[in-house]
Symmetry: D3
């Protein structure tokens, strides 16, 4: 079987803040440093969505990039772009928007729209120097 991984890059800009409501300001600053700034700061998140599966012999595609681009737009960019993650994105109302957690949330939002037989992996650059990858929960 010829398994190919197909990847599409996208991006969104957002504000966030790392902190726990159940911790004191001092503890938040101690753990999260300047990332806990109560006035928020922000990033240009660069996102790579990768789908692994067999090539369809009829089209030569694993997944149509036009379809993948549209899925990313509908489920990630429209939901996150130019938003304050803590205050405007419901998934982070009680989940700290670290890059790790954002990558998991993106995976969970896209997974239902990818064919069951295909694998899904998320790579998320928080800055050009820091990035994370999540490929789903191990059973």
């Amino acid at each position: 079987m010829k398994q190919v991984t197909v990847s599409r890059k996208a991006h969104f800009n957002a504000a966030h803040r790392l902190y726990r409501k159940d911790w004191s300001d001092t503890k938040n600053e101690e753990v999260f440093g300047k990332c806990s700034n109560p006035h928020f700061h922000g990033h240009n998140y660069e996102l790579i969505v990768s789908v692994t599966g067999e090539i369809d012999p009829e089209t030569g595609y694993v997944i149509d990039m036009k379809v993948l681009k549209e899925l990313i737009k509908n489920y990630v960019e429209d939901a996150f772009d130019h938003k304050n993650l803590n205050e405007q994105v419901p998934e982070f109302s009680s989940l700290i928007p670290t890059a790790e957690n954002i990558s998991v949330v993106i995976w969970e939002k896209l997974r239902p729209h990818i064919a069951n037989k295909n694998d899904l992996s998320i790579t998320l650059y928080e800055t050009p120097r820091n990035y994370v990858q999540f490929s789903g929960t191990n059973q």
Copy 2:
């Protein structure tokens, strides 16, 4: 005279919002679109500081990069990084933090620390696809 331009890249992450207090929300959204989101959004700003001048024949330097790096850290990164530009950076208390205005503010903060005989130019990437350049006021 051998004029060389020496450039140093740096970066900072910040939140901002584009809006005018003297405009209605409707007008702000009409002009600034999703950039006027009242909950803020953010960027990884990539900054290039360029100094043009003669090579010092003794050192082979126009300006010592270690000095330039330190100036950028002291006057730009420490002031802007992980900050909310609208709420925590005094220069933007009554100036809209567009990329254009941020580049002018950075130029004005660094200019006093660059030798008079040298020219200063600022390049600022708001996203990997949008950037601005400012080289000082024409007399």
Copy 3:
């Protein structure tokens, strides 16, 4: 006067061929090498459109990036993307589509839509290693 240059990146994919109908195949190959392949070859052209002008004190913008993005889409991307430049783009019916000529054609297509008081400059990457810049005809 505070002149700022605002730049926006875009891209399009196209096929082209460098050759002159009034030259023999031998001469075309001698001058243009493998770029004269009669079956065409292609590039991902990366385009940077730069507009220089004064900051509007009301908006903090030189030009609204959303407007610039739309102009590039309407006059360049829609006209060139996924096209064969020699056969499907009228401007190149009798003009060789070198990177130099393409940058001039893009400048001429966008110039009428940029305010007279502003300057326009085009940077075009034919490959990640080769690029050209055109800033208009010197009077």
Copy 4:
């Protein structure tokens, strides 16, 4: 055992068209969109060839990069660069030149020239935003 993966980047420019001769023009356009343009379009393909194996304790190499560079030149660049994939590359006479299929063809061309004990993986960027990876057929 110390397994290291060694990767080398290369690139080639080519024209292609996505379509099936046994489909109508309407169906080709419906499935492949503007990628089915009968006049062709093109890309700067960026290629990464990765070889995984043990470090040779005598040289400190998994594979000599000079050799790998030469293999890529002989079997990929010389065969694909500045070519029309559909019309001038025999492997695509009856195979649609999608990025997926191109990565498989490159893998098959290089595999015989890589030591049996080593693994081979191909990464191919069709545009800076779209890329695929193929690591061989699972037995």
Copy 5:
């Protein structure tokens, strides 16, 4: 279990030379080419350190990036940056500083400082076109 891979980029500049003392100059040049230049040459090494593990539900982190950045600084950058690898870094006194071997040495220097339950992987760019990856010895 939600396994996420967290990556941090860093860089250092160094000089090196590929050669074996027990080989003749002719053999060294034959095997290593211009990389065996007895006067040394150098690179800007770009380093990516990747740690894979479970997200800590309390902080949303796999590993605190500030901690990872500090580890890289203390154990890699301070040891290698602006150094001659052959002459000033003890690990290479009898080991050829190929990219492969450097990646293994970096892995061995960092491994003791990463939690046992987490995996560690090193990616090292010797040039923008050549890079290697090492993820530890297979048991």
Copy 6:
């Protein structure tokens, strides 16, 4: 007149050391810091050579990129690549190989081979974060 600037990227790896023989080791270290390491360090220099001139109406070229590529190979890459600039490149026997001075030397080596009517500019990246530009001596 339609002036276009045509740019070509190239690169070379080299070792260097910043120091003056007529200064003490202490003064060299004070001025040049770790760049004065007597065992040398090195860089992947990324070079951009830009030629500005009129488009030749016959070919659509300012300068044939194949010719420019060859000039860079003959006069810069062959002279500098995998070399120790201080010890093996005659131009730096009594000139400190700072990025500034290297850019001037490259300009002087290439200038005689560029048509008189055209302008020449050199951009040299010493690291991805530090670069210099030289466009010739002002008369």
